[in-house]
């Protein structure tokens, strides 16, 4: 009774289909980033630059979709999305190459790109939001289409399935896990460690780019200040899902559940009108509890 949110007519709000899909939609952006973050963390790496990359992606897609482009609306939107997603993937490739080639710790490299890419996004947009209108032009059509719950949830679900299959059913997936488990052993057995690392960070950039496109459509704007602290939300989801920051252990299923826990919790607290500052404190406790329970479970 303490937890369950009810409308004043006595019906349970949480269980309404509309509310459940609201939750899924609200967490999809972070959820998508968390999928790729799972791979990164499996290799014992970390990617702090995803929040800034998200901002870059929202800015680019908005810039190019409001600009006159190909006459065909679909082509126009696809062109803008393509630029945003490839630029984001490129950020990931550069992260991965710097980490793999120079041997600088991922924390430092992606901390640097977190700062640099934020600057780039702000510079490109002159630190102004780029509004996508509500008319009938390509930009508005793009936002209306991508903003639908079906598209957002579908994208998240599809990517989750793909990332699950790749991790569990392919050699690449096995390599990702092996690197995090024991990089030295991996090197001795001749795993293409550098190539795999570059791929993992490139995927993080790619998925963040896709998340950025969804974010831009949802908010009807490109925003160079979007996504602040999203890297931490994504990392939290992965860790709640049972991954270890030391690498080697973690799964896509766990990450999806970790994302769901965060999303559902926030939703319940909001339906109960809990103060948003208290919400943050509760989140903190949940993160520690979830990881603590898993740790003690593994020991026994």
């Amino acid at each position: 009774m303490l937890i369950s949110p009810h409308a004043r007519d006595g019906s349970n709000i949480f269980l309404q289909t509309g509310n459940l899909t609201d939750v899924l939609r609200q967490m999809s952006v972070v959820g998508i980033i968390a999928l790729a973050m799972t791979y990164v963390i499996l290799t014992a790496g970390i990617d702090l630059s995803v929040g800034s990359t998200l901002a870059l992606s929202t800015s680019l897609v908005a810039m190019f979709v409001v600009r006159p482009g190909p006459a065909n609306l679909f082509l126009h939107a696809a062109f803008a999305m393509g630029i945003a997603v490839s630029a984001s993937a490129l950020v990931g490739v550069v992260n991965g190459m710097t980490i793999a080639a120079l041997g600088i710790p991922p924390f430092i490299v992606t901390l640097a790109s977190m700062i640099g890419i934020r600057g780039l996004a702000k510079w490109l947009t002159n630190n102004e939001n780029i509004d996508i209108g509500f008319g009938s032009d390509a930009a508005a059509r793009f936002a209306d289409f991508v903003n639908s719950k079906m598209v957002i949830l579908g994208t998240f679900a599809l990517l989750a399935v793909i990332f699950w299959i790749v991790l569990e059913r392919t050699i690449f997936g096995r390599y990702v896990r092996a690197i995090g488990d024991n990089e030295k052993a991996g090197r001795y057995t001749g795993l293409p460690i550098r190539r795999i690392k570059i791929w993992v960070y490139a995927l993080a950039g790619l998925l963040t780019g896709i998340a950025g496109v969804l974010y831009a459509a949802e908010n009807h704007q490109g925003n160079p200040n979007a996504g602040v602290a999203y890297e931490l939300d994504a990392i939290a989801a992965v860790v709640i899902g049972g991954a270890s920051l030391a690498g080697g252990s973690g799964s896509i299923g766990g990450t999806v559940i970790g994302t769901l826990i965060m999303g559902i919790l926030t939703n319940i607290l909001r339906l109960k009108n809990v103060d948003s500052n208290v919400e943050m404190m509760v989140k903190a406790v949940i993160i520690v509890l979830a990881v603590g329970i898993q740790k003690s479970g593994k020991k026994t």
Partner: protein
Amino acid sequence: MRYSVMVLATACLLASCGGPQQTSGKKYLVAFSQCNNAEPYRAAQNALMTKLFAEKHDVDLVIADAQQDNSKQVAQIEAFIRQKPDLLIVAPNERAPLTEVMGRAYRSGIPVICLERDIVQPNYTTYIKSDNHKIGEMAGNFIVDYLKKKNGVARGNIVELRGLLGVEGEMNRYAGAHEVFSKYPGIRIVHEAVADWIQAKAKDRMTEALRAQPRIDVVYAHNDPMAVGAYLAARELRREKEMIFVGIDGLSGPGGGIEKVHDGILAATFVYPLCVDKAVEVGDRILRDPNLKPEKTYTMDSVLVTPETKRPL
């Protein structure tokens, strides 16, 4: 992963199986989505709204703070829509991102009051706004009158400190004043800087202006905190007596612009209406008469505050 499944299952179970809560009977539920409690103007809005609705006795007011985050505000409004309040009041963080969700609330039959900031489509029952352009004109006229009195003719050097660029308030406070200034060739904006509404930034920008300009008559800041920042910079260089400081917002209470006028720091401020009194008045009428058709827009008037016109703190 096994354990995270357990946590998830527990959370869902708790959320889905409690019995219905004690329904409070005949009380009205009013939900207010505030864009950012951290701004003093917003905090003043919350305080006044809480006070005015508390006087009604049969109204429960719930305030959600979006902490200047569009996505968070959208999610909070979505949660409100599920709760089916009798009235939803929204102070949108930004125009475009909030338009769609407010439309969903409005179409689901919840009366929606849009407070102070506009959205792209009229997805509201009524919109209560202030007129920044008019406030800009009032500030411009006040400054012209002051310069006429000080220098005999409308002539003088002005430093202008601007708010966050691209924001409606900034654009109109700028445009309104400049429409007045442009009629007087003797009035020169000798220095113009952007300080993003923030006192500390305004102090830095003003220090630069003071270094560059040997003679300044008036500092026109787009809000009171920036005017106070400019004053602090001038005082550090012992030039605060040389010029007057004009701000906008005129919040009452400790630390507000009205107090700064009272303390002799600002020569004038213009009250930027909280719009809350009107929102509560119209909102309360809607609660009691769901068929009421209020006007689509209400525009609130500003008031000039100087040491002479001082209002009670």
